[in-house]
């Protein structure tokens, strides 16, 4: 009994659940869920609390192994674009310890003892001390510079492998590589010249200064705009979520109606190998026909298949929901089914009008051996604060970033108000 108590105490103190532990000790997360679960709807046994609020346009987030969180902002607050949150009194509510970085952006990641953050053109890295705090906030090493920033799809999401490389998304500043973007009757350019500099994932070294197009590797192409990406440690492989094209009806009203245009094309998740081509702009994925369909800009009619050499997605989601973050869950706090599965944060659609908008939630996809082992399911919902989002401006919060805390909690950022949600599992 004494031993049992000791186990209980130790487990409680370290906030780590051990799925293999048959002693059935109670897991007590010191972070207590808010009474209303922060306004979110979650699966049974899960709770949510607001870890931080009103940070500004919080894009991607990353937790340190000590439990702090770095938040990348899309608009400067007090002249700073990165916020460092810590929870000194361990009550689950985090405070801003410091802010730094005079640039806006989306990407932020940690590998070993370095923090990496991106502007819409460059990637910087900072040294972390033994507490997970940046030692050189004002003079980071600029490891990549001069990437395309042409407004549209300019955010640079980042992920790191275990071999000294960083992967940077360069989104295509275009909907479908037309001669005149988003314009009815304008032809698709062939070959699409954008693909030389964008519409793909580029690979750079983590420790070289001022790399760019001249010495970066185009690791994968045919990816219109990847905002969510993560390195899967089990498979030692890059996985990405892509935003599919817009405006099938607006550009081709004779071929598509507003309903089809709202439901197509799929938002897609890919497992990426070096050299892969996902087919943009020549094809899009149709999850109803379960195939790659030739884009109308390139002679397609909504039925003709295309992209024989392009890879297929491993998951196809409904259209336009905007998968802004991807995270493989490696923690032990959540039940076993979540281990090594994927969470995807959907920012929420705008291109489904006049139908109601979709997304504005975080989904979970179970994985086995690097492949989905079941259907995706909504994991956390209610961010928008309204039953139905008719127009995107109605949404009070929009999920944008994901990170896993050292105790296995899942953190979700919102880029409308700058709320950081923490999801914990509290069931016995």
């Amino acid at each position: 009994m004494k031993k049992m108590f000791l186990i209980f105490l130790l487990t409680s103190l370290s906030f780590v659940s051990n799925a293999n532990d048959s002693t059935k000790v109670n897991i007590t997360n010191q972070a207590v869920a808010d009474a209303d679960n922060a306004g979110l709807t979650l699966p049974s046994g899960f709770g949510a609390l607001i870890a931080a609020d009103n940070l500004g346009r919080a894009r991607h987030i990353v937790a340190t192994k000590q439990g702090g969180i770095y938040v990348k902002l899309e608009r400067l607050v007090g002249g700073k674009g990165i916020v460092y949150l810590t929870d000194a009194n361990k009550d689950g509510k985090m405070e801003i310890e410091t802010s730094f970085g005079n640039y806006i952006g989306t990407g932020i990641a940690i590998k070993d003892n370095y923090l990496y953050a991106s502007s819409n053109e460059d990637v910087f890295r900072y040294q972390l001390d033994e507490n997970g705090k940046v030692t050189n906030p004002n003079n980071p090493q600029r490891i990549v510079k001069g990437l395309w920033d042409k407004r549209q799809h300019a955010s640079k999401s980042i992920a790191l492998d275990n071999a000294g490389n960083i992967y940077v998304n360069i989104g295509a500043p275009s909907n479908s590589c037309q001669e005149v973007d988003r314009t009815k009757g304008s032809k698709g350019m062939y070959p699409c010249p954008i693909l030389d500099s964008a519409g793909g994932i580029w690979q750079f070294k983590i420790d070289q200064t001022d790399q760019g197009y001249h010495n970066g590797v185009r690791y994968a192409t045919g990816l219109r705009n990847v905002v969510g990406l993560d390195w899967n440690q089990q498979q030692n492989k890059l996985y990405v979520t892509m935003h599919g094209r817009d405006m099938l009806y607006t550009l081709y009203p004779d071929m598509f109606d507003t309903t089809v245009s709202a439901e197509l094309p799929s938002e897609t998740m890919y497992a990426i190998n070096k050299g892969d081509d996902a087919g943009w702009p020549y094809v899009y994925y149709d999850h109803f026909q379960k195939k790659k369909v030739l884009s109308p800009e390139y002679g397609g009619d909504g039925k003709k298949a295309g992209g024989e050499k392009a890879i297929d997605p491993i998951v196809a989601f409904p259209a336009h929901m905007a998968p802004n973050a991807l995270l493989f869950y490696t923690g032990n706090q959540f039940p076993a089914k979540y281990k090594n599965g994927a969470f995807v944060a959907f920012h929420g659609s705008w291109n489904r009008s006049p139908l109601p908008q979709e997304g504005y939630y975080v989904v979970f996809i179970p994985f086995e051996n690097g492949k989905p082992s079941g259907q995706w399911e909504v994991f956390a919902n209610g961010f928008s604060g309204t039953e139905m989002v008719k127009n995107p401006r109605d949404a009070k919060h929009r999920p944008c970033g994901l990170t896993e805390g050292p105790d296995g909690s899942l953190y979700i950022s919102d880029d409308v108000k700058g709320t950081i949600y923490r999801i914990v599992y509290n069931a016995k």
């Binding site: 899309e74 407004r151 549209q152 799809h153 300019a154 500043p173 275009s174 909907n175 005149v180 973007d181 988003r182 314009t183 009815k184 009757g185 304008s186 817009d246 405006m247 009806y249 607006t250 009203p253 245009s261 705008w350 291109n351 009008s353 006049p354 008719k390 127009n391 995107p392 401006r393 409308v416």
Partner: protein, 142 residues
């Protein structure tokens, strides 16, 4: 008593007149043009600017309440519709990422109609744009 009745009658009538003029702000010429413009709006504009003109935060600017939309620079509005917009410009304190379509195939009347629709829908109210004005503006746009 008669005086009171008379006064209240005047009040009722005048308030009716006021409310009539308040609700019926759209002149018949604009109304007809707006009805035609709405059809074009739903086909060409709604996907990005949304059915209620509220736009999409940080991607597509709202038209409802936008100073340029309600303003007097009709040449600028005609240019945006014909040429589209790809510049990084601040719009009422915010930046928007998406490119706007070019619509050179719309006729002068269609452009006038869609402008009358967006300038007088939702919370907007502005003067009539005529096809003649659009035609004159088009000659100045290269």
């Amino acid at each position: 008593m008669k005086y009171v009745y008379c006064l209240s009658l005047i009040l009722v009538l005048s308030s009716a007149l006021v409310s009539r003029s308040a609700t019926n702000t759209v002149q018949p010429a604009i109304k007809a043009s707006m009805d035609r413009g709405k059809i074009i709006y739903l086909q060409r504009c709604m996907a990005c600017h949304q059915a209620d003109g509220s736009g999409v935060p940080r991607l597509n600017p709202p038209l409802d309440g936008a100073s340029t939309v309600k303003g007097n620079d009709k040449l600028k509005l005609v240019r945006i519709i014909i040429k589209g917009m790809t510049d990084r410009v601040e719009i009422d304190g915010e930046y928007y990422d998406n490119n706007m379509s070019a619509n050179p195939d719309l006729t002068d009347t269609q452009i006038a109609d869609v402008l009358n629709y967006i300038r007088n829908s939702w919370g907007n109210k502005a003067s009539l744009v005529t096809a003649v004005e659009v035609k004159a503006a088009r000659t100045k746009i290269k």
